[in-house]
C-alpha cells in the first residue's frame, strides 16, 4: 500500500468513527425525547381538574349554626344535606336512581369541599354563592376528551342520563377546568380526582433529609480517614474492596436489611420516613464515599507537601488544603447519591412504605408514602385518573432529579473556576 492509499484509509476510518458516534448520540436523544413525550402527554392532564359551578346557599339556620359562626363551629357542622340539596337543584331528576346518578357526577366528598370553601371564605355565611366542585373521575376524563362516549351505554361507566346532565351543564358554561392544586396538597385517595402527592412529597422530603443527615457526615469522615490517614495494609484494602462491593449491591438487599434489623430487631415504626431514611443511608453511604475519595485523591500531592513543608501537621494540611479543594467533587457526589436515593423504590416497598396513607405526614415517624412508591402504587390502578397521575408524579420526580443534578454540576463548576 502506498502513502496515498494509507492516507485515504485513515480518513475513511475517521469518518466512520464519527458516523458511529453521531448515530449513537442521535439514538440516545431520540429515546429521551420519546420518553419525555410519552410521560408528558400522559401526565399533563393531571395538572388540571374539572369542576362544576354549583350554587350554594350558606343559610345558617338550615346548617344549624349561629349567625356568626366560628371556624370550629363550622368544622363540627354537617354539610351533607346542604350539599345534596344544592347539587340536586342543578338538574331536574325523577326518582332515586336519577338522583343518585346526578350525585355521581361529583366527587364523593362534595360536602367536605363545600365546608372547606366556607372555612376559607367566612364572609359568605348567609349568602348565596357559586362554588366550583370537583367532578368525578369519569366526568373529569370525559371533559378532558379521554372518555369513549360513543360506546353503547352498558359498556360505559357514565350513563346516558349523566351525559345529558353533562351536556346541559357545558351549554350553561358551568363546567370548568382549573389548575389542580389538589394534586400537590392532597394525600392519597381511592378517588383519583382528588388523589394527590402531598403525602409522598413530604414523605420523600423527610426521607431525603434523614438520609442526608446520616450519610453525609459519615461518608465525609470515612473518606477523609481512608484516603488521608489510614495506613495502607490488608485491613484497609479489605475495607476498600467492600465499599466498592457495597455500592454495587442491589438496593432491594438494603430493604431486606432494613426490614430485618430496623423493623425486626429494633422495632422502629413501619412505613415511616425514619426507617426509609436509615435504610437509604446504608445504601447511599458507599455511593457517596466513592466520589468523595476520588475527589480527595484528585487533589495534587504537591499541595499536601507544600503545607507539610511549612510545618503544618497532617490534620492541618488535610483540613486547610485538601478538604476545601475536594468540596466541589464531594458535594456533587453527595447530591447525585441523594438523587439516586430519592428515586429508589424497591427497599421502601420492603419496609412497608407501600401502605395506603391518606394523611400527610407531619413528622418523620408518621406513616407515609414517597414519590417513587406513589408511582408504583398508582401504576397498578385501572382508573384513567390514576394513569395520568402516575405520569404526572413521574414528571415531578424527574424534575426534582434534574434540579438536583443541575445543582451538582453548578457547584462543581462554580468552585472549580474560582482557582484555575
Amino acid at each position: 500500500m502506498n502513502k496515498d492509499q494509507l492516507l485515504k484509509k485513515r480518513y475513511r476510518a475517521e469518518k466512520r468513527f464519527k458516523f458511529y458516534g453521531l448515530v449513537s448520540i442521535t439514538l440516545a436523544i431520540l429515546f429521551v425525547i420519546f420518553l419525555v413525550n410519552v410521560i408528558f402527554s400522559k401526565g399533563r392532564a393531571a395538572f388540571q381538574r374539572t369542576t362544576i359551578a354549583v350554587e350554594v346557599n350558606f343559610n345558617t339556620e338550615e346548617l344549624e349554626l349561629s349567625s356568626n359562626a366560628s371556624i370550629e363551629e363550622i368544622q363540627d357542622a354537617d354539610f351533607y344535606d346542604l350539599s345534596i340539596n344544592s347539587l340536586l337543584k342543578l338538574y331536574k331528576t325523577e326518582g332515586a336512581k336519577q338522583e343518585k346518578e346526578l350525585l355521581r357526577v361529583f366527587s364523593p366528598d362534595h360536602d367536605i369541599e363545600i365546608k372547606n370553601f366556607l372555612i376559607k371564605n367566612l364572609d359568605n355565611l348567609n349568602k348565596n354563592v357559586i362554588v366550583n366542585l370537583t367532578t368525578s373521575d369519569d366526568i373529569d376524563q370525559l371533559h378532558k376528551g379521554n372518555y369513549p362516549r360513543h360506546l353503547p351505554e352498558e359498556r360505559r361507566r357514565i350513563s346516558d342520563f349523566q351525559l345529558l346532565i353533562y351536556d346541559q351543564l357545558v351549554k350553561e358554561n358551568k363546567v370548568n377546568k382549573v389548575f389542580n392544586t389538589f394534586f400537590f396538597t392532597n394525600g392519597d385517595s381511592r378517588n383519583p380526582e382528588v388523589a394527590g402527592i402531598g403525602g409522598s412529597l413530604f414523605g420523600s422530603f423527610f426521607t431525603i433529609i434523614i438520609t442526608l443527615i446520616l450519610s453525609f457526615p459519615i461518608a465525609i469522615f470515612a473518606s477523609i480517614y481512608l484516603e488521608e490517614f489510614a495506613p495502607k495494609n490488608r485491613i484497609t484494602d479489605f475495607i476498600e474492596i467492600n465499599i466498592n462491593n457495597l455500592a454495587a449491591v442491589p438496593s432491594i438487599v438494603f430493604g431486606l436489611l432494613g426490614l430485618g434489623i430496623l423493623l425486626g430487631t429494633f422495632d422502629l415504626p413501619r412505613s415511616t420516613p425514619l426507617v426509609a431514611g436509615i435504610t437509604l443511608s446504608l445504601m447511599t453511604l458507599p455511593r457517596i464515599i466513592i466520589p468523595c475519595r476520588a475527589s480527595l485523591k484528585a487533589v495534587p500531592p504537591s499541595i499536601r507537601e507544600g503545607a507539610l513543608a511549612v510545618g503544618a501537621s497532617k490534620v492541618q494540611s488535610v483540613m486547610h488544603h485538601v478538604v476545601p479543594l475536594s468540596i466541589p467533587g464531594t458535594l456533587s457526589g453527595t447530591i447525585i447519591g441523594l438523587a439516586q436515593a430519592l428515586g429508589e423504590t424497591a427497599p421502601l416497598i420492603l419496609i412497608g412504605m407501600v401502605a395506603f396513607v391518606v394523611d400527610i405526614p407531619a413528622t418523620p415517624i408518621d406513616p407515609s408514602a414517597s414519590l417513587p412508591v406513589q408511582v408504583y402504587l398508582w401504576s397498578e390502578q385501572a382508573e384513567r385518573g390514576f394513569v395520568e397521575k402516575t405520569s404526572a408524579t413521574i414528571m415531578v420526580l424527574l424534575s426534582f432529579l434534574i434540579v438536583m443534578n443541575f445543582i451538582a454540576v453548578y457547584l462543581r463548576q462554580k468552585f472549580e473556576k474560582k482557582w484555575s
Binding site: 495506613p231 495502607k232 495534587p300 504537591s302 499541595i303 499536601r304 507537601e305 507544600g306 503545607a307 507539610l308 513543608a309 511549612v310 510545618g311 503544618a312 501537621s313 492541618q316 486547610h320 488544603h321 479543594l325 474560582k418 482557582w419 484555575s420
Partner: protein, 255 residues
C-alpha cells in the same frame, strides 16, 4: 568566605524505598550560612537526600531511613522528634512551583498563622511584606495580594513559594531544582535571591545545571547511584576534582 560551622551532618545515611536502596552510606556536612549544591545524574538520590533533612520522606509509606541526621548537633532521625517544629525550622522549595490555591497573601501568611507567629493583623501584614520583599516579589504583587497565587507566572509562583518558605523564619532552606521550570530571567532572579538569602539562611540546592552550581554555591556534593562520590568547595570540584567520575560528569561525559 568559607564558613566552617557545620549546620547539618548526616552519618551513614541509608534510605530504602521498599526493597530498593536509594541512598547508600551518605556522610555529608552542610555548613551554616552558605549555599551547598547537590549535583548528579537523574535518579541518583539527590531529592531523596534533601527530603531526609526535613523528614519529608515520612509521608511515603514504603520509605525507610537509617543512620544519623544531626542539625546543630541534635539527632533528628528518631521517632520522638516533632516533625512539625522541625519543618518550621527547615523550609523547602519544590521543583514544581506549588502555591496553595489561595490568595497571594494567604499563601505567605499560612505558615506564620498556624505557628502563631503574629499576634495581630498588623504584625501579619508586616511578615507577609518582609517575606515577599526578601523573595524579590513584593513590587510585582503588592497591589494584588488578594489575587490567587496560581494566577502568577511560573517564576513568580516559585518566588512566592520561596516567600512562603521564609515566612516562618527557618534556619535552613532546601531547594529541589527550584529553577527547572523557569526561563533564564526568572532563574537569574532566583539566583540573585539565593545570594542574598544565604546571609541569613543555610541553603541546600539540588540542581542539574553545572553553571548554576558554580554561580550560586560555595560547596558542591556529587552523587552517583545513591552514593556521595565527592564533596568539596565548589571551586575545587569544578576546577580540580579528586574523582574521575566527578570529572566526567561535570564535563558532560555522562549523566
Amino acid at each position: 568566605m568559607i564558613n566552617n560551622k557545620v549546620k547539618i551532618k548526616t552519618t551513614n545515611l541509608n534510605v530504602y524505598y521498599g526493597d530498593k536502596q536509594a541512598l547508600n552510606d551518605v556522610n555529608l556536612e552542610i555548613h551554616s550560612k552558605e549555599v551547598t549544591a547537590l549535583i548528579g545524574p537523574s535518579g541518583c538520590g539527590k531529592s531523596t537526600y534533601i527530603r531526609c533533612i526535613n523528614r519529608m520522606n515520612d509521608v511515603i509509606d514504603i520509605c525507610r531511613v537509617t543512620g544519623s541526621i544531626e542539625i546543630d548537633g541534635n539527632e533528628i532521625n528518631k521517632k520522638e522528634i516533632d516533625v512539625v517544629s522541625l519543618r518550621e525550622k527547615i523550609g523547602m522549595v519544590f521543583q514544581k512551583p506549588n502555591p496553595f490555591p489561595k490568595s497571594i497573601y494567604d499563601n505567605v501568611s499560612y505558615g506564620p498563622n498556624i505557628h502563631g507567629l503574629a499576634e495581630n493583623k498588623v504584625k501579619m501584614d508586616e511578615i507577609v511584606e518582609t517575606s515577599l520583599k526578601k523573595a524579590a516579589l513584593w513590587n510585582e504583587v503588592k497591589d494584588r495580594l488578594n489575587e490567587p497565587g496560581t494566577s502568577l507566572s511560573g517564576g513568580q509562583q516559585q518566588r512566592l513559594c520561596i516567600a512562603r518558605a521564609i515566612s516562618v523564619n527557618p534556619e535552613v532552606i532546601l531547594m529541589d531544582e527550584p529553577c527547572s521550570a523557569l526561563d533564564p530571567i526568572a532563574t537569574a532572579k532566583i539566583e540573585e535571591l539565593m545570594d542574598e538569602l544565604k546571609k541569613s539562611y543555610t541553603i541546600v540546592i539540588v540542581t542539574h545545571s553545572m553553571s548554576q552550581a558554580v554561580r550560586v554555591s560555595q560547596r558542591t556534593g556529587f552523587f552517583h547511584l545513591g552514593k556521595l562520590i565527592e564533596v568539596d568547595t565548589t571551586e575545587k570540584i569544578f576546577k580540580n576534582p579528586n574523582n574521575k567520575m566527578t570529572q566526567d560528569y561535570i564535563t558532560g561525559r555522562f549523566g
